[in-house]
Amino acid sequence: MEAKLTAQLRSGYHCNSNTPSDDYLIPLRLTWTAAPLEVAGVVYPKPEMEKYSFSDKPLSVYTGDFDILTKFKVPASAPVGPAVISAKLRYQACTDRMCLPPKTVDVTVPVEIVK
């Protein structure tokens, strides 16, 4: 079972991918609090390598719309019924001239566990 989170960056902005080009860059990261479910894996999209005027080398970034897929497992012990799972998406966006502070966005997803 999987959930798709669609993010849309405003035109002119990029954010670092989950694997940025340098250690000092803040990566995009989706972190779930998924109980009673278990996260089987988070699949980030393939980043673009873009060159900006402020960087000597291309940066690993996302622009525009992109999807992050999360695969879940339902443990046998998971109680039947409604539940809410949540996540935090941390990202840091820049234009070609300036950067905004890192930001964390809360995500909540209602689910229902059925037999």
């Binding site: 669609t6 993010a7 902005y13 960087s55 300036m98 950067c99 905004l100 966005v105 229902e112």
Partner: protein, 203 residues
């Protein structure tokens, strides 16, 4: 067998800055410093440098000050920092000082190794949310203020500008007849940003 039903299988988020609407905050090319009548007192602060010594902005009254808000994760900031090192060296005998204010959330944990790696010859402090709010709320980095000898803000740049633009403005302020005067009679000073650095005013 248990199954999972997502009430909403896809979650949509809109990311990215919504800061820059309406008027652009980008400095126009070849801008000059503000006229005397348009300059307002730079809010004072006292923050510690990497050696634990206090850097108080008002102690630099009489100097031309380049006050740079930056962070280790800000790539455009990395371009400017070597320029500021050059300026500090070039103008150190003309009563000029660069002060870097890092807005890294984890403070010296990130900033100290950064400073050790680079030969930064000016004072760097770690700023707080309060520092940011004193200057109208620093929405984007780099944001750099040029402060005249009387402690007044003569120019603000949000985002990367050219080295020559900074240099022109610094020289204008260094060459100015302003020898540094007593501060304006205000008991407190806080800049209010109306979305554009050109509209900063003290209250």
């Amino acid at each position: 067998m248990t199954k999972l039903i997502f009430r909403s299988a896809a979650v949509f988020l809109a990311l990215g800055g919504i800061v820059f609407t309406g008027c652009s905050r980008v400095s126009s090319p070849r801008t000059t410093v503000k006229a005397d009548k348009d300059r307002h007192q730079a809010p004072d602060f006292a923050l510690k440098d990497v050696d634990g010594k206090t850097v108080k902005l008002s102690d630099l009254r009489g100097d031309v000050v380049l006050l740079n808000f930056w962070a280790t994760w800000c790539s455009p900031c990395q371009i400017e920092i070597p320029w500021f090192v050059d300026f500090q060296q070039q103008y150190k005998d003309r009563k000029f000082a660069v002060v870097g204010v890092s807005l890294d959330d984890d403070g010296w944990t990130s900033v100290k190794p950064y400073l050790e790696k680079r030969k930064i010859n000016y004072r760097v402090v770690v700023g707080t949310e309060e520092t940011s709010q004193l200057y109208g709320g620093i929405d984007a980095l780099p944001t750099t203020f040029l402060i005249d000898r009387s402690g007044r803000i003569a120019q603000v740049h949000t985002g990367l500008v050219s080295k020559s633009e900074y240099q022109d403005e610094i020289v204008k302020l260094l060459d100015s007849k302003d020898a540094g005067s007593a501060p304006e009679p205000v008991t407190s000073s806080r800049l209010v940003s109306a979305g554009s650095p050109a509209l900063l005013f003290a209250r």
